[in-house]
Symmetry: none
Subunit: 200 residues, 4 copies
């Protein structure tokens, strides 16, 4: 029972990286075999199909992405600080991403067309969760008086997510983190301006 879980974990971990780097269609069972050192039987004994691996690997990638973020947010107190910290977490995506290959949400969303409804639904759920997380920070900021009351939390959350994801795409295309920092800089300024005005 424990051995099984360990092997499943090995497969899922390796697959998550491969899928994130080469896409779902571009990653073959053979790649996972090589990455895990397992034979075919070892993989299909733990998963019934490639799609099942895809779903679990995506879930695993999400956990890898979320954990360090939540941890980092826990280190800060006020909402603006948390938002700044969130941006800084993503600014490190190019140099040291939680899962190699960029943001799994972005990558999966782009590839998950009509033929991958299962993954598409998971992507939406992940995005909803992420948006809620940001919106909650904004609400906290309103409660604690650090963020203006007339700011639409949902709007801001969606705006942040969009910019962050687009910035990660740029980072992947250009191959460095320069564009990432550049793209997110206005968000830092946005946070400070909301705060300032909140005081006024």
């Amino acid at each position: 029972m424990k051995k099984t879980d360990q092997t499943k974990r090995r497969i899922v971990t390796a697959a998550a990286t491969l899928f994130n780097r080469k896409g779902y269609a571009g990653t073959h069972i053979r790649d996972i075999m090589e990455a895990t050192g397992l034979a075919k039987g070892g993989i299909y004994g733990n998963f019934s199909s490639k799609e099942e691996i895809e779903v679990e690997a995506f879930a695993h990638a999400l956990r890898c992405v979320r954990e360090p973020l939540v941890e980092e947010l826990g280190r800060h107190v006020t909402a603006p600080e948390k938002l700044h910290a969130l941006l800084r977490v993503y600014e490190r995506y190019a140099s040291s991403p939680p899962v190699p290959g960029g943001c799994p949400i972005l990558n999966t969303s782009v590839e998950a067309d009509d033929a991958h409804q299962r993954l598409r639904r998971r992507v939406v759920k992940a995005l909803d969760g992420w948006a809620t997380m940001i919106a909650d920070i904004v609400k906290q900021g309103k409660s604690e008086g650090t963020i203006r009351e007339d700011i639409d939390a949902a709007d801001l959350a969606v705006h942040f997510i969009a910019t962050i994801e687009g910035a990660i795409m740029l980072a992947k295309a250009y191959g460095g983190d320069g564009k990432l920092v550049q793209a997110l800089r206005p968000l830092h300024r946005l946070i400070d301006e909301e705060l300032v005005r909140a005081d006024t």
Copy 2:
């Protein structure tokens, strides 16, 4: 000569849509055959490989994306108006995209890993061209006095592009244009605030 070009165009057009919707790895020659009504001979008589189709299809998709944008920008005079118009063009991406399947730059960038260097370079070139286009509008705004002098044109361009691309990703994931509009709204406000402050 005319017949060939016509058929090539038919292939490229169909392929551009297919690639944009299902990805490069996820689109098969068979799909292109069905979409064009051609047999294999008809396709490989005009292109020597799938990769060649990919490259030309991406170029075609770029033209489809750029043309309506340039056209729309030409209808406006001042820089802020142009920037608003640019955002509005992309807000229509969910309901009526120039190429079905979302933004070809985004989609190609996400799929183009180390194994597709040729496409990756084209993506970077496209992004550079787009950034230049936006930066030029900002510079024009400075000249005409509608945009503050201390705005960094390049930063703003990258920020816009990131947000727009991320918003298109959201639109594709959620399946409507609600998130798109939501994500871009702060950019509209940003434009107006730059202008206001420029007056001050």
Copy 3:
């Protein structure tokens, strides 16, 4: 009418060389197109199928092989001289073959299995003709008193042909004419010994 023949000749000549070098299965219509500068229509307007080209190309190759041989034999009078001359003709096969690629009879014979009965029959006819030619020389030698009466003309002819063809094979494998000369040398000696003994 004259133009057609000229084009057919161009095709046949080019095809003969290609077939002799790369084999029938290994030569494609595209190769013939490139070698002749013709398009598909130009080829299939003169021949109804690849097999028809094969048959005519083989016939052409045979003529190319036979003509210089007959011509050379005509320059000599006695049978032993003719036989020596014949061997010398073939000793030049490696450096300057009448058709590039070796002996078309050998090449065609090896490739012509059950699926190429038509070519196989032509090969046999060519071999029969060649054997007859050699046997006739031997018979002439007997008449003129230069060759012993108890020599079997047919046996000698077949022996010569076998050795010559095998020697050509060696020349192709090794890439020079050293082995060719080496393999045929005993035949020269054989001729002289037959003559000497005939005198005894």
Copy 4:
């Protein structure tokens, strides 16, 4: 490990016959599938490419050719006897060849043009080995006093090989072993004459 080797052997054996009969270009994977009863997965699980099968099949064919020859030579003592025995082995090539389709060295040599350098090198190696084997017999004959000292071992070996190969070609073309025996008969006589003169 045992199962694999068995299947590989099955593939190699079947392929050797097919290649020898229909040529390398003329033999398709489908033919090997039918001959072995295996599916594509079974073949490409044991060999990475058709070329790899070609190389191994040629090596196998060589072994099939050499073994009975070496065995037969071992049954004789003196050099002339061995040479006669060698010829007799090849005289049986038409009726019962070690590999159906004729001599693999001949067939491979004829087909192996510039595009098959790997096979061509193997052919040369096989021919060298064969020539050495014959030359060694001649040298043994000189030592034991059954063959004249002034006979060039290498020349004789090459001559024998050429005649034998050419004779096998004739046998394949004509479809019986009559020509084979006819072509090799002078070699038998040559052996006896060398012996006789050695005594003088």
